[in-house]
Amino acid sequence: MSSTPSADLVAVLPPRASGGTRAVAELPDPPLLHLLLPKWLTALARAREGEKGRTARYVVLGLVGVLFWAFVFGVLYRLLTYFRGVEEIGALLAGKLLGLMLLGFSSILLLSNVITSLSSFFLAKDLDMLVAAPVDWLRLYGAKLLETVVASSWMVLLISIPLFSAYGLAYDGGFAFPLLVVAMMVPLFIIPAVVGSAVTLILVNVFPAHRTRDILSVIAVLTAGGIVLLFRLIRPERLARPEGFRSLVDFIAVLRTPSSPFLPSEWVAEGTMGFLGGEFDWLLLYLLWTTALAVLVLGALLHRGLYMTGFSKAQESAQRFVQADGALSRFGRRLLSPFGILRRELVMKELRLFFRDTAQWSQLILLAVLVVVYVFNIKYLPLRGEGITFFLVNVVPFLNLVLAGFVLASIAARFIFPGVSLEGRTLWLLRSSPMAVRDLLWAKFWVGTLPLLILALGIVGVTDWLLQVSDFMFLVSVMSITLLTFALSGLAIGFGTMFPQFETENAAQIPTSFGGLLYMMASVSVIGGVVVLEARPVYGYLSAKAYGTAADPTEMVIGFGLAALLCVVATVVPIRMALTRLEAVER
């Protein structure tokens, strides 16, 4: 072998490359689909992965999906067949309902496209390579827009299927109906995607991308929370009361007026109802497609003008100065010092990471809205007046436990379940240090459970107070919700560790995984179990109170004892399993 390989190479290398530039016609021009090839291949590779329990996962997901579809379809179909039987206003109501739902879809799509396009156009890992390659701006725009549409619209698409099926079947739409729906829905998906990505493009040109992400997550949460709150506070249930309408003529007049005649969602609703009523207006389809194509052209032009400046700005890192060892930090450290250095630092780390991540803490706003709506619902429950028995007043707080349990399970799924997954990239540090896995889980458990417990006791306490329940029911609710909170946290830690998503950096995505689904199923089972076990003694007690019979103490001990045991098991067993699982993780 030669001592310098390059000496051998000289003879066989091609001639020195010429210094001239290639003619424009020679420039490589990868087609749009080629740019999407890696995504497609990744999806295929994922589908082919022979991971453990994949079939079971698909079966469960498929089953849940079918059940959900059947539920949406069933409810809508029933409602629409009822509407169809109502003369004059039936079709108007169906149209109004569709218009409202599509308006909701459009808002969700717009919001979701704004957020998704920030990732796909500015933060995605493949962008460096694509922007550095000789890829035409229009191709890049097309590829990234398509990616954005798919990522942000699939959920709406899935919900649209049972929705339009119900309309088609209830109004005998025939075979042409699905084709028409596709022709109308495609532009309805394109328009918010183009508008959403244009909004993001402008925002990124104004703020750095990382700041934009923070701003967007707060805007998204505030908007979502605002919509929910507004919808609830106007108390739509009052509309169902006959005394709410002045006259039928007024009501029909309101129904006949399109709520938003310039919105594409209204065109789709009108087109659908027109077709189902036998008077389809082709102008609506024309309007939809010309609008979609026009915004597409405008979006592309905006992209050509602003994208490179925005992309360049997106590379700037968000330099953020944090006050060194502030008063809060010092207070926290002093408060936690009895737990030792390691546990204190682990808890401090958890708190810092949470409150410095806008995408995380901003979810608390949504949580606050949820709690307000919850308490509001309880406050306006018609539990006074004629026909309201002692039983009903005391059974409601008991059922309230189920609802509060679901709320807590959702919160634990969002905040506690992803905890271990989020350590994926830093596991090297935790695993190479002399830290027992137990300490890590301890910190994650308590940082999640304490606020959850305060919230749980707050919800149950306030609602019980509003309902003016008996002392016995108050005690039962408070004890049950406390034990349930521990169980739900334990399950979240357990399932989150047993089904980790180490590669996912977005905490909000983690609960939507298969493990998240299993966690929710397990939580529902435990909540159901506790309620079933407590039902008998509670019924016994209430009967005794109402009819003056004697309550059976054995029944109470067994019922409440088993419920408590179930909660303790649901707390301890998953955490123990998580310990074993995490100790075996190799990354």
Binding site: L9, V322, Q323, A324, T426, W428, S432, A436
Partner: protein
């Protein structure tokens, strides 16, 4: 200080590390060389207690990693090749957190952290969130974190990746001085000049097995290398057909 006995790691049918025996005494700066995928990172991650060996044993500062992992880990610091750290902590907070993992705190730790950050020109950045750090700065922060608790053994995977020449020079000096004070460092590298100039002894690992082992003089003598440099020895052990392949590729 580090003893590996018949260390093996298998992933299904693939053997990443195949019966490695190695003894690195106290105060030695030991280098691991080898082509990509040879098993260097797997070996180092096993020594750091991140991966569990399929068979064989690891002793760090006389403590068996399998029997008493907590004590063994308390004696070492690990620097990975990819600088993934908590984005939402500041540099100072990260060092404090790492010290906490080793049950250390107080003025001494704070002072040490400040000195380390200053050494790597990160002092001005100490209260900035890590998310605003460049790749090299993150690497420097991770290196600082491995020294902040003063471990007896430091395990380093590709220390020079992403470092500017000044930081690389500082790191070399730091490694030398640290071992001179009786601590032990084992590291993997692709930079042969670094290995040749820095290591007391080195091992060349190919396909999970140690192919050559010893001081530079030992390697030259064993391979009848005369005055050849480490690059020649390395290529001879790992890449006889490198030139041939290159020609094929360029001609293709």
């Amino acid at each position: 200080m580090i003893e590996l006995l018949n260390l093996t790691k298998r992933y299904g049918g693939f053997t990443a590390v195949d019966g490695i025996d190695l003894n690195v005494p106290r105060g030695e700066l030991f280098g691991f060389l080898g082509p990509n995928g040879a098993g260097k990172t797997t070996t180092l991650r096993m020594i750091a207690g991140i991966l569990k060996p399929t068979s064989g044993s690891i002793r760090v500062a006389g403590v068996d990693m399998r029997a008493d992992p907590m004590t063994a880990k308390s004696r070492l610091g690990f620097i990975p090749d990819r600088p993934f750290i908590y984005e939402k902590l500041t540099g100072a907070e990260f060092l404090r957190f790492v010290a906490g993992l080793y049950d250390q705190e107080g003025k001494e730790v704070e002072h040490r952290a400040r000195e380390l950050l200053a050494l790597f020109d990160l002092e001005e950045w100490r209260d900035e969130l890590v998310e605003s750090y460049s790749h090299g700065m993150r690497q420097k922060l991770i290196i600082s974190s491995a020294f902040v608790h003063r471990p007896e053994v430091i395990v380093v995977d590709e220390p020079m990746v992403g470092l500017d020449p000044k930081a690389a020079r500082i790191l070399k000096d730091l490694f030398r001085e640290y071992t001179r004070r009786g601590h032990t460092i084992i590291f993997s590298t692709h930079t042969l000049e670094v290995a040749e100039s820095l290591c007391d002894r080195l091992a060349i690992i190919v396909n999970g097995k140690i192919r050559a082992y010893g001081t530079m003089e030992d390697l030259r003598r064993d391979l009848e290398g005369g005055e050849r440099g480490l690059e020649e020895i390395f290529l001879r052990l790992t890449g006889e057909n490198a030139a041939r392949n290159l020609v094929d590729v360029l001609d293709a």
